[in-house]
Amino acid sequence: MEKRQWERVNRIVDTALDLDREKRATYINNECEDEALRKKVIELLDSIEQSETEQFLEGPQAYPHNLARDLSDSNQLRDSSTMIGKAVGRYEITELIGHGGMGSVFKAKRADGSYKRQVAIKILRRGMDTPSNIARFKRERNILANLDHPNIAQMLDGGLTNQGLPYLVMEYIDGVPLLSYCDRNQLSISKRLELFEDICKAVNHAHQNAIIHRDLKPSNIFVTGTADIKVLDFGIAKLVNPSQNEDIFKTRTGARMLTLGYAAPEQLESQAITTATDAYVLGILLYELLAGQHPFRLENKGLTEIEEIIRNISPERPSQRFKELASKQQDDISSNRFTKPSALQKMLTGDLDAIAMKALRKEQNQRYSSVKQLLEDLARRKSNLPVLARNDSTRYNVSKFFKRHSTGLTVAAGFLAILISFITFYTIQISEERHQAELEAQRAEAVTGFLTDLIQSNYPENAQGDTITVRQFLDRGYQKVQNLEQNPLVKAEIMKVIGHTYRTLGQTEKAQTMVADALNLLEHNQVLPVERANTYNTAGLISRDLGQTEQAAFYLQNAVSYFEKANQTETSAYAKALRDLANVEKQIGDFQKATEHITKAIAIDEALNGPKSTELAESYYVYASILRNQQKYPKALEFQNKSLSILEQNIEGPHPGKSANLNNLAILYERIDDNQKAITSYRKAYQINTDLYGKKHFRVTNNATNIAKLFTKIGQLDSALTYNNYALETGQDILSAGHPLMIRIIHNHARIFYQKANYTKSDSLHAKAIEVANKSKNNDAPNRGNVYVSWAKNALQQQRPNSALRYYNKSFQSRKKNFGLADSLTQGVLKELIELSQQTGHSGEADSLSQYLKKR
């Protein structure tokens, strides 16, 4: 500002300060003819007010006390300056670099000139008073001298001065302390992490040589002019302090000397110092590099308080710590990281938070067990693989998976629709016969939910553009994982995740390949039996979905055995494996084994989770369906009701488990011809599903179809028509062309009109049902057999025996293929076909068909 302008501003502000607010505004407007001046005046007035509120430059906090105190340190330099020019060993001291509690550090050169490079000599204050101490000092010094790593300041020499003071000769490092270097050069987070990894590598190298640093802190880490990391003073803390735990804390005056901000909890408790101690301090360093803040709030705290914090208070996640800073500070910190506050916070959230927090755990056994492990986790993060530090949740794993394949990925709006249709398709397949799969479907919905989140949070700007399907998405991952050079366990884990996702999306074959590969990897590696057991369980469910029941039973049997091997028989996971196994055995028809396994599962669920747990309800559910398949209807009803009542007592409101139970209950009532109860149960299931999913949902449509079918069966044709019309309407909106349920609905419609004796209408509806079945991917859809049979009957009512003959024949071919010749319904159709052939004068055909008849 020019002096002239300042004088004008000053004069106006002066007067303005004497006026009250209202008058002030008017005054300023009158005085300031140009806008620039007015702005200056208002700006200054505002600043005056703000500076007063903040007490800027006032109070003891504002005064640079620390700086004033630090003066005393520099004063000591004078005392040491007498050393300059003196010889220590083969070196001549040229300059004082600094000094501290341990002694003073000088710059020196070789006195004989044989070694041109400059060195740093540290002369220790403490005398080596006993021969054993001196011997120890020499021994340690030799160990340190053997520590050779590009990122560790090399120890060159050492000995005792003429006065008997020990000294160490080290590589002279001309550099900048780590944190200043990073800020000064505005290093991004990824650049900082690169430097951090170099530090870790140096520390890890030392650890492999059985040397612990013990005093890692930013002031011991430098970055040279060539941007290389140099870690100083390796192992010196121990070398200087013979009794390792005690003396390190104390200066001669008794004050704690250790830089408390960089002390691990065990160092304060005089516990053994291990490599985990260094790993902890690296965590602090990482934290500061990332968030620009020390993990603990130690400002203005007394020693006792600081110790308490280090021992007992868990730090906040770096992203959280950063979030809580004033915006000015956030701006500074993020601009030093060459980014914006919001971006920085986002970057820290997740893996980096988790890694820093794991490194900073108070308990040694909860931390990274080694610096190597920390390095590995950082590497995993870089390649977007799941990090150890984060819990092994599916959501996390899959989110990692999607991130990994985010390159070049744009997501179309259609993406979600496709995804959801996959899941719906999957649900349909399983709920045809296996209602226990309701719970799996729930998981499928959870997947949809988080995929939606994921896509919205990651690609807001890419909301439209190229369409990429989940299939392509996964296929890319599928190929990538084959070539992945990784820890086989990680690879197996990814395969499991991909497999799981494929399964959830109904891509069961691919799921199977993936999980089989994962199993193969696990079998060839030393893996905990539990890991294997879990993967076998997944493999079992995949095989079941594929209809490979024998294979499924084999996998699930393995899962069960591995849990037993691991002594994990008192776990819910074991009970689940038993339950899944029992269910598959039921499908195979091995009811004895199925009963044995489900009884075991029930016992565990009862013992572990109590008589009212949902786990137990699930086991009862499976048991009920085993009993139903054995045609033990009364007992099946008992357990079906037990399962339902647990859920009704435990869970308020609509729940998929309740509707699944009600649905099966209805089937049971139908079997014992209690049609009224069957209808009541179906209706309840229908209501619950409507509440859960809304009217236009597959399950609701499916329920409506079942109700319509039952009404048709008992001859309440108007009610049947109402429900079936409803199913037809919603089905047209939500079902894909050729969907099996659509075939069932139209077929049901045809039967209603058949019963109403409207054969013409029924005929065209049958034709429609077959037309839909022809659109099906699987044009040998098992339903076709049923449609043709009733179409044939309708044709007979229309006096069209030749058409009926053709339909019976088609039905027989379809049933033969899908259910085999031994099936009783197939045989039934065959008999009708032979009879009609004979009646219509096709005895030749009838004879040749007879060969298929089952011999009594």
């Binding site: 004088e7 703000q50 003066l71 004063n75 670099i97 001309d174």
Partner: protein, 186 residues
């Protein structure tokens, strides 16, 4: 060190002619202040009640013959001390900032204290720069800040030392502080 009466004389003279006597007085007080600061601070590093004002008073007691002095002289002395303190701290801050090779001199101090020092050094150098700028167009305002901030002097003492009214000091302080705030914080 010159004897007390000599310094007291210089101080009295400096009040009238701000030139020569001042030039002689400044380095004397500067040295003494620094010396006492060192020994004092070294002894009392852990004493949180320590203040810079106490330091200046000690220097004052040591250098000036109390029997031959008026209140104004004392305030004048304090004002010079404040300027000295500013200089001392700025010199030190500059050194701290320029420090490259951390070496080992820091391992006795708490690291967070070190970080604070670095931070304070940078802040202080920034403040000093702005204060110089302010002095270019309003020397008195800059003086008020030096005395109030570096000398931790009261409004009354500042008014006395600068020979202006307390109201002026208050007003100058408010405006100067506002301006510095605007320049530094915004």
């Amino acid at each position: 060190m010159r004897n007390k009466s000599e310094i007291t004389h210089l101080l009295k003279k400096a009040r009238c002619d701000s030139g020569q006597a001042m030039e002689k007085l400044f380095p004397l007080i500067y040295d003494e202040l620094k010396k006492i600061a060192h020994s004092k601070l070294k002894k009392e590093r852990n004493d949180i009640t320590f203040t810079e004002t106490a330091l200046v008073h000690e220097v004052y007691m040591k250098m000036i013959d109390q029997t031959k002095i008026e209140v104004q002289d004392k305030n004048h002395f304090m004002a010079i001390s404040a300027r000295c303190m500013r200089q001392i701290l700025i010199d030190h801050a500059r050194k701290k900032k320029a420090e490259k090779r951390g070496g080992d001199q820091q391992d006795v101090t708490y690291i967070d204290e070190l970080l604070k020092i670095r931070h304070e050094a940078e802040e202080l150098l920034g403040l000093d720069e702005k204060l110089k700028e302010l002095a270019n167009f309003d020397e008195r305002m800059a003086e008020v800040v030096t005395l109030r901030f570096f000398g931790q002097m009261t409004v009354t003492a500042t008014a006395d030392a600068l020979n202006v009214s307390e109201k002026t000091v208050k007003r100058d302080w408010a405006k100067a502080r506002g301006w510095l705030y605007k320049e530094i914080k915004k």
